[in-house]
């Protein structure tokens, strides 16, 4: 251990003990980010802020929420919404935040796909990101159950029922997950545990992993260009700030993120105060009733596309029932994005629009996902069912075709 001198300042005192100066350098002022990026690269910071909003608002909801089938509904809708000072605000922030976080996640994800940011060393960033997506999905689903309204109950019922489709163990698995033969108090309390403890812990872990995974391959840029970060960093430190291709995380990169964050929050708070219906479904203001299914049930908007893939197969094909086909397709839909780095066989890291074949795939996929999302909400009757079938099939086909399309693309551009 080095000899301790008497510290001249508070900063020095802490630095002697915690190495804060070096820490700040590594994490902030000498953590290098490419300069050539647009506002889409601010989504990660937006997500971190939204997650913080969710944790803080969640903590305050937790102070008054009661995880008990007889009390949950009123603890949310009366105590929190009408009695607690600013309880309504925390609930609105929490519910709207949980919905908007998925919008930002989707933008973040498709930015990654568009710019090919999951390839050539960035595989772990992508995988840890998908892990976050799955964890947030589980968090959203478990949280939606807590207010114990009609949608809470029936979404919980239907989604847990899905596990019954797993061969052999299905039926017992459903009972195991629910802790009862039906969605009951035991189900509510265990999902409460998942929602406020286990999943948030895993999310925090996954966020750390995600950030760490960024350190070695570095953040991608708008052109997909590879360059020597150390060299560019030296340039920047030597004073050639304009010539260098990188900027430090603090303050340069973050100043841009704060600017994007500012305008995003304007949108977010507009939703929180004036337009929250999309995130707090009207039907959920009816207390859960296990003997009465609402006329229309549908999941939260961010699950609609995969829900539609599940519903899309509604008739038997080749001796396999529609139900089983739907389940298989649903399983694939939920897992397939994990494999993006390997399904895309072209080594090219470029924005999709500069890739001769991939660009069609990308925009086709976007359109298909929007169709799935919209039809996932509409009642699956008549022509709607067929649109659902066609778009589900398209979804699967697009993924099946991706390796071939990208392989052909690689050949065409000569393996560049």
């Amino acid at each position: 251990m080095a000899e301790f001198k008497k510290a001249d300042s508070m900063l020095e005192w802490f630095d002697q003990r915690l190495g804060v100066v070096n820490f700040a350098k590594v994490m902030m002022t000498e953590y290098w980010i490419p300069k050539n990026i647009n506002f889409l690269w601010a989504m990660g910071v937006l997500l971190s802020v939204l997650f913080t909003f969710l944790v803080v608002s969640g903590i305050f909801l937790l102070m008054y929420y009661k995880p008990d089938v007889n009390m949950a509904f009123d603890s949310v809708n009366y105590t929190i919404m009408q009695e607690v000072a600013y309880g309504w605000l925390f609930r609105h922030i929490h519910a709207v935040g949980a919905s908007v976080v998925f919008l930002v996640i989707y933008i973040h994800m498709f930015t990654g796909i568009y710019y090919g940011s999951y390839k050539k060393g960035r595989e772990m960033i992508w995988i840890s990101g998908m892990l976050l997506f799955v964890l947030f999905s589980a968090e959203g689903f478990s949280g939606y159950m807590l207010p114990w309204g009609q949608m809470s109950y029936w979404a919980a019922y239907v989604i847990t029922e899905i596990f019954g489709g797993i061969p052999v163990i299905g039926d017992e698995l459903v009972v195991w997950i629910r802790g009862n033969f039906y969605v009951s108090d035991a189900t509510l309390t265990r999902f409460f545990m998942l929602h406020v403890l286990l999943i948030p812990l895993l999310i925090i872990g996954a966020i750390v992993l995600h950030f760490y995974a960024l350190r070695f391959p570095h953040v991608n840029n708008e052109a997909g260009e590879f360059f020597d970060f150390d060299e560019e960093a030296e340039k920047y430190k030597a004073g050639d700030k304009k010539g260098s291709k990188v900027v430090p995380f603090w303050p340069v990169f973050l100043s841009k993120d704060f600017f994007v964050l500012g305008f995003f929050m304007l949108f977010f708070f507009y939703l929180v105060f004036f337009h929250y219906g999309f995130a707090m479904d009207a039907i959920n203001f009816d207390k859960a009733d296990g003997l009465k299914t609402p006329a229309h049930i549908y999941p939260e908007w961010y699950f609609l596309w995969s829900y539609e893939v599940l519903r899309g197969f509604f008739f038997e094909i080749g001796g396999i029932s529609g139900k089983d086909l739907g389940l298989i397709a649903f399983g694939i839909a939920n897992a397939v994005f994990f494999f993006m780095p390997w399904l895309d066989r072209s080594p090219m890291v470029k924005p999709a629009n500069q890739r001769p074949y991939f660009k069609y795939w990308f925009w086709f996929m976007m359109v298909d996902l929007i169709v799935l999302t919209v039809y996932g909400k509409l009642p699956p009757t008549g022509a709607n069912a067929w649109v659902g079938f066609a778009s589900s099939l398209t979804f699967l086909t697009l993924f099946a075709a991706l390796p071939f399309i990208t392989k052909a693309e690689a050949k065409k551009v000569g393996g560049k």
């Binding site: 809708n77 340069v252 600017f259 999309f278 203001f285 229309h296 929007i370 509409l378």
Partner: protein, 292 residues
């Protein structure tokens, strides 16, 4: 410029998706229904153009109505306690003090003439069902006599006031015999078990109906329940426009107490965030001017 293009693409994609899953889906799942009719023009048994005679109306009311109904405002007390009344009639008969002002005139006249058809509950009180509505039809009365009763009831009705207290009174008179409003501490005046037997199902607690159904739905539903829920046991209550609006206002005052606070705080937070965003932009410009 390029960033604006990207933003435009995102806004377009999100906008289309939003349109599909919100306004469009809502429109598909909840088609528009006929607008509320506060004249109840399907009811034509009584000629409501006749001018009623208050004096005669008073005599008729005292002879025919107060055996079952109280009219507290003019000193006719309740005939028996709520629980007993509920046990004998199935539901507590309404106090008629406010009847002259909460009910539409045409509705009220036709209700006296034939309650079941005014309420649109013919599907419930069929001869086969063996059920009969506790109040008899006064179809043996002349239209003039019925209009006299209406005139009398209108003359004793308190003149309408506004504010939560009066909204509450209207709610209690119009809905409170069957529905509870737990978040306001109101329990239906007919005991829950009795009303369940009488209606065939427990009328729901209305505390959160302003949120679960929304003002738009309630506006049509209260005016004529059969339009949105064919076959429902809930009667058409015949509220006039003002009374119905008061009922809905009360449901909002109880079900969404923090609305005013939310909206005023919302404005301030938006203003704050705008200042935050502008300063963030200026700061970003300053920082980036060194690297561009």
């Amino acid at each position: 410029m390029k960033e604006f293009k990207i933003l435009a693409v995102i806004v377009a994609l999100v906008g289309i998706t939003y349109y599909g899953i919100e306004p469009y889906a809502h429109h598909v799942m909840h088609p528009e229904v006929a607008p509320a009719d506060f004249t109840f023009k399907d009811l034509k048994n009584v000629d409501t153009s006749l001018v009623g005679n208050v004096e005669n109306g008073k005599v008729l009311v005292e002879a025919n109505c107060i055996a079952c109904h109280s009219i507290e405002s003019v000193g006719h007390p309740q005939v028996m306690p709520n629980a007993d009344a509920a046990a004998s009639y199935g539901v507590v008969p309404p106090d008629l003090s406010g009847a002259g002002w909460i009910y539409d005139k045409n509705y009220l006249a036709n209700f006296i003439y034939d309650p079941v058809s005014a309420m649109k509950l013919q599907h419930k009180f069929t001869p086969e069902s063996g059920k009969a509505f506790p109040m008899p039809s006064y179809n043996w009365m002349s239209a003039q006599e019925i209009m006299d009763i209406v005139a009398y009831l209108q003359s004793v009705a308190p003149t309408a006031k506004s504010g939560t207290e009066s909204h509450k009174k209207t709610f209690e008179a119009a809905c409170g015999r069957c529905h509870s409003m737990a978040y306001a501490g109101l329990e239906s005046t007919t005991p829950i078990d009795t009303i369940k037997t009488y209606m065939g199902a427990t009328p729901p607690d209305l505390s959160q109906y302003i949120k679960s159904r929304g003002e738009h739905y309630l506006y049509s539903f209260i005016n004529d329940p059969q339009v949105l829920l064919p076959g429902t046991a809930m009667p058409r209550t015949g509220l006039n426009k003002k009374a119905q609006e008061e009922v809905i206002a009360y449901m909002e005052e109880i079900g969404d107490r923090k609305k005013a606070e939310r909206e005023s705080l919302g404005i301030w937070v938006m203003i704050y965030t705008l200042i935050f965003a502008i300063l963030a932009y200026l700061w970003k410009r300053k920082i980036w001017s060194e690297v561009h």
